[in-house]
Amino acid sequence: MKKRPAIAMLTQANKDVDIEPNRRPLSLNLYKRMLRYTRPYRGIFIALTLVVIVRAAQLPLLALAFSAVINGPIKNNHLTQLLWGVGGYAALAIITQYTLYHRLHLALLVGEGVVHDLRFDIFSHLQRLTSGFFSKTKLGRLISRITSDAETVRAGIQDSIFASMVAGGQIVVALLIMAFSDHWLFLVVLATAPAYYVTYQYFRQKLSIVHRANQESFSRLTSTLAESISGIRVTQVFARQDSNAKMWNALVSDHAGYNLATIRTSGQFSPLLELINALLTAALFIIGGWRIFHHSPGASLEALIAFFFLLSNVLEPVGILGTMYTTAVSAMAGAERIFSLLDRKPDFADPPDALTPQLKGRVEFRNLGFGYDPAKPILCDITFTALPGQTIALVGHTGSGKTSIINLISKFYLPDSGRLLVDDIDIRQINSTCLHRQMGIVLQVNYLFTGTVMENIRLGMDRTDQQVIQAARDLDILDLLMALPQGLETTVGERGAGLSLGQRQLVCFARAMLADPRIMILDEATSSVDSLTEMRIQRALNILLKGRTSFVVAHRLSTIRQADQILVLDHGRIIERGRHTDLLATSSVYSGLYQQFVLANES
């Protein structure tokens, strides 16, 4: 396939995650792994295999019965025999269709089962991956794994495996009958086998490449569309529809190119098989005719006619196998992409003997160093201790490392050097789920899920409605939540649509309160909440932080003033630390920051 020129794209490909099609044909291992997914459906699978075997025998039998009726009663001009023959044929036809029903139904069940499990595995696996993965991977690509890629696998399982089995079985049975009825002609048929083999091998390589490229291109399409929809407001604001459309159109045309490459390849494959079939037929006619003319033993017109009926039972499935082959290759290309996601190892995982301690909430950083890209350290030599119940305020310019400290305490990332201890246990040794259960995290972006406010506060925690209400009451924000159109039963749209930022923050506070964590992590989204509600928020915050070890990226003066310890960060280092009043009196950087911020409000 030609190398295509690069096209301008709305979203850029990420070389880390995106799969570039390579030239290696798809392997047998992949096929085995795909088959492994049918294991839970072994019962259905076995039943289906039986049905398939029966059906593989039924189809040539049907043809045999047909020619038997023609060559027997009809040739012999025998009416009664004809009736019996036709009756038998009809009975066989009914049984065959009954088998067909089961064959289709069972195959669909297995296919759906496999796709269902694949989707589930993909989702579950994603839950194990760490934050580093999600900051690099586009949503659209992950969506295309459970949509288009999974669908190709379905087609592969439900159509190609079993249809190939039927076709293959049909061929074997027909060949066997052929071998017994006329071994000379049978040898001719056998002699063409290499031609089929070579054709299949050649197209295996070609088809894998075009299908891979095609699916990769489709996944680019999905991710661009997903991002265009997420960013639609920005696009409209900047009246950029035309440039976006131009980029999209280029991408769509490019995708059409890949599609055409696929069509071209499979468009060569099937007719080529058909041609070989026809040539084989012609050869058989000549040799068969020659043998009849020379009165070779066993050669007769009747035998030839019967043989050709059998032949159609070989050649037709060969065509089906060809089509199925294309489907199978495409399914394998899809499976390859899914498995490469499933094989992606999380950046880190809990050790098998991870501890599940009841935390008191002591957090200690010891000479800790960290960078998202190890070559570009964000935090250097961070050392501090937070005692249970203390509030630690993190202060510093954007990019100074506040968020990274929070990410480390949340165990979204692991430190590169030094140690992070929680209750004197290395954070690596603590079971993540156990840690997060005892931790409340409220980030700048207050993410809500579609569902009611109640569901968003409860978030899968095992709590009653009464407890949810109590949490809101404890924070003294129940009245604000009840003021929503349907109170706690108000439905929230995607990403919290329908609620203002302030309301979303309240919901997130209540969520954290309900979790009743030992360690509270808060990235204050300053003025997201309007000042009229500000006082309420401050009060709620004080309640929320009380008695818990808290780490706050602080933007509120009140929070900063009340902190037990303020860490002033600059370029990933702690440059000043202490309480508000002490720092104000002695430090240079902190008091400068504070004055800049505070005094600008006065004049």
């Binding site: 949509t147 409209q236 599609n259 026809a278 017109l301 995290i441 009196a585 005094l599």
Partner: protein, 618 residues
């Protein structure tokens, strides 16, 4: 479908017809073989082969020679058929890709132009599905409905004529089952159509679960909700499977039924055909066994095609549902649209008037009531109000994301609805509370509103937004791809990129919808100067809560439940009792801190005035 496609469609049909003709020829030649052999070995029993087109082999050729020639012809025909089949597949591929490409372009274009209200009401999952998998299902529809059905009908016609030629009576008998097929198909379609629609909805749900989960990863991980999320996904996934199973049962029954009906044809042929052959035995013009074989071969071919009708009906259900979903998007009315002959403003001065503007997202739930406001060019208006008081709503009316229910808004004296929509929006720079950035380079994102901007212009805009220095610190500077390794930006950094993006096209109106909400006070302080730069010479609207920002406004309006309750400058409002002074006092520094600062300044002997003057701000 336009004229453009008609010719291509015709070509596809033509090529397929040629293929069909060739197939028929191949079949005929095969039949000829039998008659030839039969006649050669027992001329008295079998009929002489019927040569067509007046082609007759020379009498002196031996049967074997004729046989060889016939089969060489057979090979040639097969080769031709293969070539034409390839051509047909390719031209059909081209046709379908042309239609699909066009369709995808249309969907995208339409989606880009639909109003905010549409996106408020539709979840991302369903829109993505409609643009990708649903659209992909449509060519299948074209393939089946147009190409295959037409070819099927023609080939049925040809095959039937051929069969009638051989034996009219027998052909009629074979047609008996046809109405049954139609009945089965109609019943089936009626039954499963709604089920397929439901199926797509369930599928959307699965996609939504995934996309929400990915976007809310921090919450999921932070609250250890992985298992809960897995359960939720499993629920949606299982619901989809349950429904699919119901559908499978029906489609399998249907396919088997159709297949049985076609098989019934063969039974009838054997019965009736066998009878006719037996009856005609000895009659030289009667039906021969060879003819019955050919006839059965033709019928089998027809049966395969007819059986594929069952496939078609099934696929049609899927793709019709898909088509319907795509159509819903394409025919969605565009709420906000240009009027005929819109006014195209070339950089308006920026005088904006709200005249008795009333608005609500739903007509019966008004959010803004009779807003009156006049803003002169270059003025800066700050809007303050409680959560849900209508601040963002008010601002979203200016770029015409929505139209007012009553009253009107004018820009430089023109009703917004008379102004060309793109021109209007280009003259407005907007920064939202949360800024969406595309996963592309920093430079691409800043130049989003003006893709032809030079690197200098991009850097200039970045400087205005105080973003230049942090951008230079990124691994590849302006060419860093956002979201890639190490380039995860903080909220403050994202927001500054958004400000750079907004000022780059040099708009005459600037809207800052709580733009500094996510920026920490220190950074906000740093960019105040920059924001002042950005605002100068532009009419600015901003939602703000911090006094430091509010003080910069020429006029402050306080909104409460959709009405303007207070307006004036900072100084005027500070001296009145009301919302404003209450908020303001809350933000002032506490006495203790003031005392420490003053004491220290005095101690260090910095200056006579304990408070820094504005011009000293870096």
């Amino acid at each position: 479908m336009g004229i453009h496609y008609t010719w291509r469609c015709a070509l596809v049909l033509l090529l397929n017809l040629v293929v069909m003709g060739l197939s028929l020829a191949v079949l005929t030649v095969m039949g000829l073989n039998f008659d030839l052999i039969g006649h050669a070995i027992a001329p008295e029993h079998a009929q002489a082969p019927r040569w067509f087109l007046g082609l007759h082999p020379p009498a002196d050729w031996s049967p074997l020679k004729v046989l060889i020639v016939i089969n060489v012809v057979l090979g040639g025909l097969a080769l031709l058929r293969a070539i034409f089949r390839f051509g047909a597949a390719l031209s059909q591929g081209h046709l379908i890709q042309a239609i699909l490409t066009n369709l995808r372009k249309k969907i995208y274009d339409k989606l880009q132009r639909l109003s905010f209200r549409f996106f408020d009401a539709n979840e991302t999952g369903t829109l993505i599905n409609r643009g990708t998998s649903d659209a992909s299902a449509i060519p299948v529809f074209i393939d089946f409905a147009i190409v295959q059905v037409v070819i099927l009908l023609i080939s049925l016609g040809v095959n039937l004529t051929y069969m009638i030629n051989i034996q009219p009576g027998l052909t009629l008998i074979c047609l008996i089952t046809t109405p049954l097929l139609g009945v089965a198909s109609v019943i089936y379609s009626r039954k499963v159509r709604p089920a397929y629609e439901e199926n797509r909805k369930l599928f959307d749900r699965v996609v939504l679960r995934l996309s929400e989960n990915i976007q809310g990863q921090h919450v999921v991980k932070g609250f250890a909700l992985e298992q809960h999320e897995i359960d939720r996904f499993a629920q949606a996934n299982d619901a989809l499977r349950r429904q699919q199973r119901w559908l499978f049962k029906r489609s399998s029954v249907y396919s088997a039924t159709v297949n049985f009906l076609t098989q019934l044809n063969l039974v009838l042929v054997l019965l009736a055909g066998g009878y006719i052959v037996i009856r005609d035995s000895g009659n030289p013009n009667g039906m021969t066994v060879g003819e019955l074989v050919v006839f059965a071969g033709l019928l089998q071919q027809i049966s395969t095609q007819v059986a594929s009708i069952s496939n078609i009906a099934n696929t049609l259900q899927v793709s019709l549902t898909a088509a319907q979903r795509v159509r819903e998007v394409l025919t969605m009315p565009m709420e906000v649209q240009n009027r005929p002959n819109p006014v195209v403003l070339d950089r308006p001065a920026g005088r904006i008037r709200f005249e008795n503007v009333t608005f609500g997202y739903k007509p019966d739930e008004t959010i803004l009531h009779e807003i009156n406001l006049e803003v002169s060019p270059g003025q800066c208006i700050a809007i303050l109000g409680a959560t849900g008081s209508g601040k963002s709503t008010l601002l979203s009316l200016i770029p015409r994301f929505y139209d007012p229910l009553a009253g009107r808004i004018t820009l430089d004296g023109h009703d917004l609805r008379d102004i060309d929509l793109n021109a209007l929006r280009r003259s407005i720079g907007l920064v939202f509370q949360e800024s969406f950035l595309f996963s592309n380079t920093v430079a691409f994102n800043i130049a989003f509103g003006n893709p032809s901007a030079t690197r200098e212009q991009v850097e200039q805009a970045a400087r205005i937004a105080s973003a230049h220095s942090f951008i230079m610190d990124l691994p590849k500077g302006y060419d860093t791809v956002i979201g890639e390794y190490g380039a995860t930006l903080s909220g403050g950094q994202r927001q500054r990129l958004a400000i750079a993006r907004a000022v780059l096209p040099n708009p005459s109106i600037l809207i800052l919808d709580d733009a500094t909400a996510a920026i920490d006070p220190e950074t906000e302080y740093e960019i105040h100067q920059a924001m002042d730069n950005a605002m100068s010479g532009r009419t600015t609207f901003m939602v703000a809560h911090r006094l430091s920002t509010l003080r910069r406004a020429d006029k402050i309006i306080v909104l409460d439940q959709g009405r303007i309750v207070q307006s004036g400058t900072h100084d005027q409002l500070m001296h009145k009792l009301g919302h404003y002074s209450k908020i303001a006092r809350m933000q002032l520094v506490d006495e203790e801190s003031r005392y420490i600062i003053q004491a220290r300044r005095w101690y260090e002997g910095q200056s006579d005035t304990p408070l820094p003057r504005e011009e000293n701000i870096p």
